[in-house]
């Protein structure tokens, strides 16, 4: 009969009306500023740089300015300039570091490819999403200082992933140390002392050879006699030209 379909429809909306008062499956609204959103572990927003030292993030960036992410970034929003000198990293190894590391978040599309291609676990995705700014050029361009965040922060926002990364890194480190010890034992005569600069001095190395300007990964450039193969990460070296 004419009208029966309409009455059925009215019944459904009435059911939803009543349901919206007690059924959370129907009323899914979250009142945002009062009720903070619970972000899932995997949530990604914009990248940040992981540093080992919580108190002084700038001193111990994992990034060695290999520029892989800069090249792989689909919208090309990462700008990296290598340093001219080397600084000791968390392991005390002398590494290059990014003199300039900038991400233009107005260009970034949060695809996470930089994270995936980084062989050093140096760049990770952040979860901060309240990033409104008044200047669309300067405020949305994040420089090295703004990007650097300690490893503890990484543990805070991605606990599972960070634990896994740390486990892998320490395992690698141990393996590398053992290997280094083994090589050291083999070349017992070799008078190479692995530099262990516990001091936080800048320790410029005027004697170090000029860094080659190619954007090849760090490991390929400076194979030190005292250290073994790859100190960090298990990813194969990129064969980019």
């Amino acid at each position: 009969m004419l009208g029966s379909g309409i009455i059925k429809g009215l019944a459904v909306t009435a059911k939803n009306f009543v349901g919206s008062y007690y059924d959370p499956a129907r009323m899914t609204t979250v009142e945002y500023p009062e009720q903070p959103t619970v972000l899932p572990e995997n949530y990604r927003n914009f990248p940040f740089l992981v540093s080992e030292n919580a108190t002084d993030p700038m001193g111990t960036l994992r990034c060695v300015a290999c520029q892989i992410c800069e090249k792989e970034c689909p919208p090309q929003c990462i700008i990296i300039e290598k340093s001219k000198d080397k600084k000791p990293d968390a392991n005390g190894k002398m590494q290059l570091y990014p003199a300039v590391f900038g991400i233009d978040t107005s260009v970034c599309m949060s695809c996470q490819i930089c994270v995936e291609v980084c062989p050093f676990d140096a760049i990770k995705m952040d979860k901060v999403f309240e990033i409104a700014a008044t200047d669309r050029f300067l405020d949305l361009y994040l420089n090295r200082e703004q990007l650097a965040k300690p490893n503890t922060y990484y543990h805070q926002i991605h606990p599972e992933e960070a634990a896994e990364v740390d486990g892998r890194l320490t395992a690698d480190r141990k393996a590398a140390e053992e290997k280094a010890k083994a090589t050291a034992a083999a070349k017992a005569a070799a008078p190479v002392a692995a530099p262990k600069p516990a001091d936080s001095a800048v320790a410029p190395k005027p004697a170090s050879p000029a860094v080659k300007p190619q954007d090849e990964p760090r490991r390929l450039v400076s194979p030190k006699p005292g250290e073994g193969g790859s100190p960090l990460g298990e990813g194969g070296p990129a064969k980019s030209s």
Binding site: M1, G9, N16, S20, M27, T29
Partner: protein, 407 residues
Amino acid sequence: MSPASDSYLERAPLELRDWLVQFLPEPLQWLAHHLITVVAVLAVFGTFFAFTTIAERKLLARLQNRLGPNRSGLPWIKGLKLWGLTQPFADAVKTLTKEDIVPATADKWLHFLAPVIVVAFSLMTFAVLPFGRNMIPVELNAALLYFFAAGAATELAIFMAGWSSRNKYSLLAAMRALAQLISYELPLILSVVPIVLVAGTLSTKAIVLTQGYWTSGFLPHWFVFTPWGLAGFLIFIVAALAESNRSPFDLPEAESELIAGHLTEYSGFKYALFFMAEYFGLTALSALGVTLFLGGWQAPCVFLEFIPSYLWFMLKLIGMIVFFIWVRGTLLRLRIDQLTRLAWKFLVPLALLNVGNAAFWVLSAHWAGPLQLVRWAVSFAVIVIPFVIMGRSLTAGFAPRTYRYAS
């Protein structure tokens, strides 16, 4: 009638008015008397309009599993949210302060006149509605006729708005508004004719009074509880939805097709006036429906008469409006040809039959005993059988389908 009719609460608003008027000198009293009435109606229904908008937004939101506006509190007081009930006032401030844009090629005078006319005429309809036992702004012999006459001019204003905007969407909306008005004025008036026939008067007050009886104290003699009254009420509701341009008949303003129809080129206060007129029209038509079919200010049971009549009226009015909101939250829009077809091929014949039905009801008024049952049965049959037959022909060829699957 009952003692309740002159209880203190019942007389309070009127006595307040008389008390205010007596302070004025004699020659001004007549004027003040009417002015107070007008101001009271404007104030009450202005507020009612404001809260109808928020109610509509909140109810629609709940129907759609949302929360609706719930943020606006009072200015300068932080954290006070008042369930968003002050939203309409915030909206009013916003629309009043918005820039009024008139298209360069628009017909400036008509563009300006249209919202003025539409609000003026939709407000005029309130003059003859009996809001309470003694609360009727103007008592007219031909009140019903007046109501429809005042209401008829609103669609003219929609046409003016659409035509003067010089926008193609507005023009299409203007044409639609005209077609809709011509089609639905007829069933609307025809659905009311049985009431006039049975009550024997055009006065709204007298019509309400004829419904003021109860069978054994709790079965009210409202017209909606008779076969012809129910049919008339349903036709009236459909036609009223169409007259007030509400979903599913919101064709002139069809958002998904004509952007905003006749309102496309309106902004700021003029837009607010149209918005206001639409709600005034809806309220007035609902109030008329309450008056004609739902017993007006009468209580549903005798023992409930201690509640003042104007509160009963308001309660019924709110019920009608909630129903309209509910319909809006559910139904989809008709196409213009289907709209006119529904009016001319279905509602008008049904309404005409219903007039005959009411005539039969009047003629068989003296039937008693088992004949009373026959009377009800015949009256139902006269309206239900054509409804089913015509409904079938209207939906001929349209049916849910079954589908095959690829093997």
